[in-house]
C-alpha cells in the first residue's frame, strides 16, 4: 500500500482527486503529516470520518519506528531503521548545546566506493524514498527539537536526487515542516550534473567531500574523480553566489602522511582561491582492511592553523559518538556483517 508520508502538496492533491475528496483536504493532510506530529490517519481529526476511512482503505500513513537506538556518553544517539529492502540505515542525532543536528541517510549502502568509507563495503542495496528520508526526522525521540539537518549519512545524496529534492521541498515549504533551507546541508562527492540541478532547485547549503586537492591522489581515494574531476566541480561552484545566505563547505578527512602535508595546504589555498567557503577537517575513524591511518591531533591542528593563516576559514569537526560507532556506516555494516 502506498504511503501518504513523503508526498508533496501536489501529490496529496492528486490523492484527493483520486478519492473524490474536497481539494482543501490536501492541505489539511499535509498539516497533519508534517506540521503536527501524528503517526496515524485516525489522528487527522479535522478530516471527516468518511475521508479518513477512504484514506485508510487506500493508503498507509507511512512512518516507521526505529528498530534500535544507542546512546553515546556524549549524548549522541544512533538510530537504526529497517528499510523496504530489509537492510538497515542509520540516523545520527547530535546535540550540541542549543543546536540539535540530525544526520540522515539517503541510500541503503552506497555505489561510490570511496576508499575510506565503511558504507561502501555494504555495496548498494537501494535508494530511499522521500518518505524514508523524512521518517528519520519524524520518528526519532528528539523530533521536535531538531534545529539542523545534514544529508551526510549513508549513501551519496545526489545519486538519489529526486527523492532528496522532494524531501527538501517538504522540509522547507510552508505547508510542510516550514524549516529554513539555511539550516539544511546536503553533502556530495561531486556528481556534477546532479549538483548543478540541486543548486538550481534548492537553497540548502552544499558540502563537498574534497579530501585531496591533487588529482591523482583524489582518484585513489574517490573513484568519482575519474569522471567528475574536482577542478570541474570547483568551476561550477565558482559560478554560484556562495558566502552570503547560502554556504559551501568542503569536507576534508585527514589521513596520516597522505593528505596532511604543507604541500596540501598550499594546493588547497590555490584551488579554493576566489571561493568563499569553509573547510571542515575530520579525524579519520579507521575501518577494516584500510591502508589509511588517521593524522595526529597535532598535525590536524597545525593544518587547520596553516589554512586559517592563508585566509581559509577552517575548523576541526569534533568527533562525536565514537563509543557507539556513530560515524556513517559503521553500525549498520557491523550488523550486516554479523548477520551474514
Amino acid at each position: 500500500m502506498e504511503s501518504l508520508f513523503g508526498k508533496t502538496l501536489d501529490e496529496l492533491r492528486d490523492v484527493t482527486v483520486i478519492l473524490g475528496l474536497p481539494s482543501y483536504t490536501a492541505k489539511q493532510i499535509a498539516d497533519w503529516l508534517y506540521g503536527k506530529h501524528v503517526f496515524s490517519i485516525d489522528d487527522m481529526t479535522n478530516l471527516s470520518l468518511s475521508a479518513r476511512k477512504q484514506l485508510k482503505e487506500n493508503y498507509k500513513f507511512g512512518t516507521e519506528a526505529c528498530s534500535k537506538v544507542q546512546t553515546s556518553i556524549d549524548g549522541t544517539k544512533k538510530y537504526l531503521f529497517n528499510t523496504s529492502v530489509n537492510k538497515y540505515i542509520e540516523t545520527a542525532y547530535i546535540p550540541d548545546s542549543d543546536r540539535h543536528t540530525v544526520c540522515v541517510s539517503t541510500q541503503v549502502g552506497c555505489k561510490m566506493g570511496c576508499l575510506f568509507c565503511m558504507t561502501g563495503k555494504q555495496g548498494f542495496q537501494g535508494n530511499l524514498t522521500a518518505g524514508e528520508i523524512l521518517n528519520q526526522l519524524h520518528s526519532i525521540e528528539e523530533s521536535s527539537r531538531i534545529t539542523n539537518i545534514v544529508y551526510m549519512g549513508m549513501g551519496e545524496p545526489l545519486d538519489n536526487l529526486e527523492p532528496v529534492l522532494k524531501s527538501l521541498e517538504i522540509l522547507t515549504s510552508e505547508w510542510g515542516y516550514a524549516m529554513s533551507p539555511r539550516r539544511i546541508t546536503v553533502s556530495t562527492i561531486g556528481l556534477l550534473p546532479a549538483m548543478r540541478e540541486f543548486l538550481e532547485k534548492s537553497e540548502a547549503h552544499l558540502a563537498v567531500s574534497l579530501h585531496s586537492p591533487f588529482e591523482e591522489e583524489r582518484k585513489m581515494l574517490m573513484p568519482v574523480q575519474q569522471v567528475y574531476p574536482l577542478n570541474e566541480v570547483l568551476q561550477e561552484i565558482r559560478s554560484w553566489d556562495f558566502g552570503k545566505q547560502r554556504r559551501v563547505s568542503f569536507e576534508y578527512i585527514m589521513f596520516r602522511g597522505l593528505n596532511d602535508t604543507p604541500e596540501h595546504v598550499k594546493e588547497l589555498t590555490k584551488i579554493l582561491s576566489g571561493i568563499r567557503c569553509r573547510i571542515n577537517l575530520i579525524r579519520f575513524h579507521p575501518i577494516p582492511d584500510t591502508p589509511l591511518d588517521t593524522s595526529s591531533d597535532e598535525t590536524i591542528s597545525a593544518f587547520k592553523d596553516a589554512l586559517n593563516d592563508k585566509g581559509i576559514t577552517t575548523t576541526i569537526r569534533a568527533s562525536r559518538g565514537e563509543d557507539i560507532y556513530a560515524a556513517c556506516g559503521l553500525l549498520s555494516t557491523k550488523k550486516l556483517l554479523k548477520k551474514s
Binding site: 555505489k111 563495503k121 555495496g123 545519486d159 548543478r196 573513484p223 569522471v227 582492511d289
Partner: protein, 220 residues
C-alpha cells in the same frame, strides 16, 4: 553565469544489438575523438536524464559503441533497448581518466565493466595485460573470441552461476583469493559495480598491493 554544461548533441543510432540476456550494444555516429577507457553521457531526450556509459569501441572505428545492461526499473536502459537504427539519442563529449597504461596490469571487470577494456583491446592496446572477467552466466562472456585470440590464457573467465571446465567457477574475488600471490609491481584496473570494486580492492590491499597501484572505475 554557469560554466559550460557538458552539451548533449544529437546522434543517429546505427545499430542496437542484443548480445546476451538483458545486455545490449548500441552503436551511433562518431563526431568526436576519444581515448579508450573514457565515458560518454547518454540521454534519449534532449533535456532528459543522462547516464554515463563506458565507450566500448576502438579508437579508430568509424562509430562509437556503448554496452549496457537493461535495468527493468531504471529510466534509461529500457528506453535505450527499444531504439532502432535511425533513431536519435543525445550524447555528451567523452570524459574520464580511466585510461590505458602501457605497463603490466591486471584488468578486472564484472558484467558490462568489460567495456573500457574491450575498447582498449580494439584500439590495439593490450600488451602485458591479464584480464579477469566475472559474470553470472556463461553466455555473458560475449567478447570471448576476441579477448582469447589476443590475450590467450591471460583472459580468465570467472562464472559464479554456471560451471564449465575452461572457466573458473566463482567470482573474480574468489579467483584472486585462490592465487598464492599477486605481483606487487603490476597496476590493477577495476571496473564494474561498486560491490566488486570495493571487495576486490580490499583483497588487493590485504595482499600488500600499494593502493596507488589500484585504479577504480565504478558504475553508478
Amino acid at each position: 553565469m554557469h560554466v559550460q554544461q557538458h552539451t548533449l548533441t544529437r546522434q543517429s543510432v546505427l545499430y542496437s544489438e542484443k548480445i546476451a540476456e538483458d545486455v545490449f550494444i548500441l552503436g551511433f555516429q562518431k563526431n568526436f575523438d576519444f581515448e579508450p577507457g573514457q565515458v560518454v553521457g547518454i540521454s534519449v531526450e534532449e533535456n532528459g536524464p543522462r547516464r554515463l556509459y563506458s565507450i566500448c569501441s576502438g579508437k579508430e572505428e568509424d562509430h562509437i559503441a556503448i554496452l549496457y545492461n537493461v535495468v527493468d526499473e531504471g529510466y534509461l536502459t529500457p528506453r535505450l533497448s527499444s531504439l532502432f537504427a535511425g533513431d536519435s539519442i543525445w550524447v555528451t563529449e567523452p570524459r574520464g581518466d580511466f585510461l590505458y597504461d602501457p605497463g603490466p596490469s591486471f584488468w578486472i571487470a564484472s558484467g558490462t565493466g568489460i567495456a573500457p577494456f574491450y575498447s582498449m583491446l580494439k584500439s590495439g592496446n593490450f600488451d602485458r595485460k591479464i584480464l579477469l572477467h566475472g559474470e553470472r552466466h556463461l553466455e555473458k562472456f560475449y567478447f570471448y573470441d576476441e579477448f582469447y585470440d589476443t590475450l590467450g590464457h591471460n583472459y580468465i573467465r570467472c562464472c559464479s552461476g554456471e560451471e564449465d571446465p575452461a572457466v573458473f567457477h566463482g567470482r573474480v574475488t574468489g579467483y584472486l583469493r585462490s592465487l598464492p600471490s599477486l605481483p606487487l609491481h603490476y597496476k590493477y584496473y577495476l571496473c564494474g559495480r561498486a560491490e566488486m570494486v570495493v571487495e576486490t580492492r580490499d583483497i588487493l590491499i590485504e595482499r600488500d598491493i600499494p593502493f596507488n597501484h589500484i585504479i577504480s572505475e565504478i558504475y553508478f
